[in-house]
Amino acid sequence: MASETEDPNRRDFLVVAGNAFAALGGAALLWPFIAQMNPDAGAQALASTEIDLAPIKEGQAITVLWRGKPVFIRNRTKEERDKAIADDSAVLKDPFARNLSLPDSAPATDADRVKAGHEQWLVLVGICTHLGCIPKGQSMSDARGDFGGWFCPCHGSHYDTAGRVRKGPAPRNLDVPPYAFLSDTKIKIG
């Protein structure tokens, strides 16, 4: 019988192969236990919402829920739009459009914050980019901050009439969610 054993021998190979197989299996089994915390099929099924804009008069705003988040829809007045366009050339805290339908590099002009042909409609995720509070400004009687858009009462961030942050601790403009006009008075968010 052969008594001489090379190093590494067949048993070493079996041990390494067996352990590697068990480790891979264990790691693969870990994934379902992590993935189970991701949004479930029920949450994903709520991923798009259709909104009728007809009842919203000029100067009014409504808040709808999309994926559990508040979405601001504001029918801007002519003055509000003009003010926003005028401020395109102002020094902005965040120079990017933050419009999920546009490339990341799109500049934060008023035109890039809305849909062409529907410029009076501003659709924004109504969550302050600082720490997630909901800014004031949806109701006519709300404080709208120094720039006439929204004002976050938690830590004092001011947003203008295009939803761009102008003052306060918030780092980014309010996000524009992906949405499309199905008709002149109907949008689909998501």
Partner: protein
């Protein structure tokens, strides 16, 4: 506990630093690496490790399910369906948990039968055995509470029937049973209130079990493991270190067990459940045939065998609690059934009795099943109350080997057959 000098050597400066402050690694090394295990342990000794796995798996999958489950009468049933259909991998994790309960009982029953066969409950392992019975009781409670949660018809009526067992106490003190039952229910019937508290307790009890398991293992490591000969370890040559020998064997047993486990989880996840539990709980309609999960069937058969409400409950509870007294009911000085011809016979008759009771428990409460339930209930108690005490006194045990080593190696001092051969057959 190992009384000898530990062979643990910290490998790094960090490990040495820890070792001087909190020698956890040294303890684990002593208890699970160099711990001496009898060299003749067979595969029946792999269930301890398998049961630890089962407990850990039930806790992990249970914590996940609790993230998605809603313990209310209105939503519980739907939320289980939501877990099975909508939650990512919920179909798998829910099956793991439900099948896991059955597999847990498969393993624990084999573990208990192993203990009965090899006399593992005898001195000095009485406390170890009693802790095991307490774990078994806590497991039964946990399984029962958990079965309520899907809130199907079997859940609801199982809860109703089992909690009503306490109402039999009315026969001792009128009103006491009713009082206890309404206290358990939190109302005048089983409702969402009951479900909510069952959910809370179902989450609590596994951690009680984990605590008992630690004590169980502690007691095991004080007395040392029993072995197929039932002989005490007399010399170092009777043992091998736990790692790699016992651990490797445990791993083989575990993989076989996991194959069976996975087969149920992936190919027949609902096989061990009952079809009626796919109907939402309805407090106005009882299903025609109420049965518990398979692991409770033998005790259920005993309950129904006695034609008296209180008597049935007493018999069923006694059937479990009698296990606590086994160390003192058995009068034999020989541990292992291997050397006890009559006890071996009684043991297998007892196994048959348990299986028969399980089968009878799944049958409707009518003749001839009731008669046979009564017959095997008698047989069940006869094993503990007659066979165990009497056989120890009248039986002549076969000749025991002088030591564990001798039982493995033969009477000569030679090496075991095959030990000289090269492990590398090329």
């Amino acid at each position: 506990m190992a009384h000898n000098e530990s062979s643990y050597q910290p490998k790094s400066r960090f490990a040495k630093w820890w070792d001087e402050r909190l020698p956890v690694a040294r303890m684990m090394h002593g208890q699970f690496v160099e711990f001496p295990t009898p060299r003749n342990l067979n595969y029946m000794w792999t269930f301890g490790g398998i049961l630890m796995f089962c407990l850990a798996a039930q806790i992990v999958t249970g914590v996940v399910l609790a993230m998605h489950f809603t313990p209310s009468a209105a939503e519980a049933f739907n939320s289980v369906q939501h877990i099975k259909r909508d939650v990512n991998y919920g179909w798998m994790i829910q099956a793991f948990h439900a099948v896991g309960a059955s597999m847990f009982f498969v393993a624990v029953y084999l573990h208990i039968f192993r203990g009965l066969y090899y006399g593992s409950y005898k001195a000095p392992r009485e406390v170890l055995w009693i802790l095991g019975v307490l774990i078994f009781l806590a497991m039964m409670a946990t399984a029962f509470l958990g079965y309520a949660l899907p809130w199907g018809q079997m859940s609801f009526w199982g809860v109703t029937v089992i909690t009503n067992l306490f109402s039999s106490l009315n026969e001792i003190i009128p009103g006491m049973g009713t009082g206890i039952v309404e206290w358990l229910w939190g109302g005048y019937a089983v409702t969402g209130v009951t479900l909510n508290r069952f959910f809370s307790l179902h989450y609590l009890l596994p951690f009680v079990i984990a605590g008992l398991v630690i004590l169980h293992i502690w007691a095991l490591h004080v007395a040392g493991q029993n072995n197929p000969t039932g002989l005490d370890v007399k010399a170092k040559s009777d043992t091998v270190p736990m790692y790699p020998f016992a651990i490797a064997k445990d791993a083989v047993g575990m993989f076989v067990f996991l194959l069976l486990f996975a087969w149920f989880v992936f190919f027949m996840p609902d096989y061990l459940g009952h079809a009626d539990n796919f109907t939402p709980a309805n407090p106005l309609v009882t299903p025609p045939h109420i049965v518990p999960e398979w692991y409770f069937l033998p005790f259920y058969a005993i309950l129904r065998a006695i034609p008296s409400k209180l008597g049935g409950v007493v018999a069923m509870v006694s059937a479990v609690l009698i296990l606590l007294f086994v160390p003192w009911l058995d009068t034999s000085r020989v541990r292992s059934a291997k050397y006890r011809p009559w006890y071996k016979l009684a043991f297998w008759a007892f196994v048959f009795t348990c299986v028969a009771l399980g089968w009878l428990g799944s049958k409707p409460a009518e003749q001839p099943y009731v008669f046979w339930s009564q017959f095997f209930t008698l047989a069940y108690f006869a094993f503990f109350l007659i066979a165990l005490p009497v056989l120890g006194l009248i039986e002549t045990p076969r000749t025991l080997p002088r030591s564990i080593s001798e039982s493995v190696l033969g009477s000569g001092s030679g090496m075991p057959v095959g030990a000289a051969a090269s492990p590398e057959k090329r």
